[in-house]
């Protein structure tokens, strides 16, 4: 089995449904679509400066997923000197699927689930690109 060599790190996004969309897409990628190449970690570990996690994200390509313009994932990875190779905004994916109205934080509605699937597909494209470059 190949080494898991890409981190997918969603924002913690507890206030808005787009945060949940980002997390849902992350799980879809790391558990279903690219389980052998990808993994995730708790973003909060970067916030508190957990040494073990900092070491990992400095050595491994990271893709950030953010639900809002605060871009907590991207900024925490950058502040931690992580190897950020791609930053994805959920709002950009939503712009390409304007008909969708994602709702819910604890549980997404059907449209939120659809958006998470579209987002996961975008993440997979980036994962494959990184894999091809290595």
């Amino acid at each position: 089995m190949p080494k898991k060599n890409i981190f997918i790190i969603p924002c913690s996004g507890i206030g808005k449904s787009l945060g949940t969309v980002g997390r849902k897409a992350t799980y879809k990628v790391v558990e279903e679509l690219r389980p052998d190449q990808t993994t995730t970690t708790c973003l909060a570990l970067l916030t508190i400066g957990d040494e073990e996690t900092l070491k990992k994200i400095r050595e491994t390509p990271c893709i950030s997923i953010d639900g809002c313009p605060s871009q907590c994932s991207k900024k925490n990875i950058e502040a931690s000197k992580g190897k950020l190779v791609k930053s994805i905004m959920v709002t950009d994916i939503l712009r390409n699927h304007r008909g969708l109205k994602p709702e819910g934080v604890i549980k997404l509605n059907v449209e939120g689930e659809k958006l998470a699937s579209f987002l996961a597909d975008e993440v997979v494209k980036e994962v494959d690109k990184i894999g091809a470059d290595e």
Binding site: S12, I14, T26, C42, L43, A44, T47, I48, S70, I106
Partner: protein, 144 residues
């Protein structure tokens, strides 16, 4: 964040990596949406680092309860480090000790049993919200 008189802040760990983190987030949302919607506010924990002084003032403006999924206690440590000392702390793995038969499995799609645990955690958070508000209304001046 100026009009904070009757609000309590709840800061959940992000906990994406483990099922306990998911319980922590769901329990926090249950308090915000159902149990104490008028009395509580939240902030995304990583915003303490990604945001500015306004965000870092959170625990100085609101009495704050941290909810952590595991012993790393990111919410508690992060809140202390960037904002202020939490009024109360909750750790899911501590609560789980009361339910040794319950093994958490999913971080993405919690089972009915896991959702019941989230409800119990939410009730514990709500109790601490009430205590924090009571303390605010009737301060004893006691220092921990």
């Amino acid at each position: 964040m100026g009009m904070a008189s009757n609000k309590v802040g709840i800061v959940s760990c992000s906990g994406e990596e483990i099922p306990e983190g998911t319980i922590s987030r769901i329990a926090t949302r249950l308090v915000l949406e159902k149990l104490r919607p008028e009395e509580t506010v939240t902030i995304c924990l990583p915003l303490f680092l990604a945001g500015g002084e306004d965000e870092r003032a959170f625990a100085r403006v609101f009495p704050t309860i941290t909810v952590d999924g595991c012993e790393k206690r990111c919410a508690e440590i992060g809140t202390k480090k960037y904002s202020g000392k939490p009024t109360a702390t909750i750790v899911i793995t501590d609560i789980l000790k009361k339910y040794p038969q319950l093994k958490l499995k999913s971080r993405d799609d919690p089972s009915a049993e896991e959702l019941v645990l989230a409800e119990k955690v939410a009730e514990e958070i709500a109790k601490k919200v009430d205590e924090a508000l009571e303390q605010k209304r009737h301060p004893t001046g006691r220092e921990e």
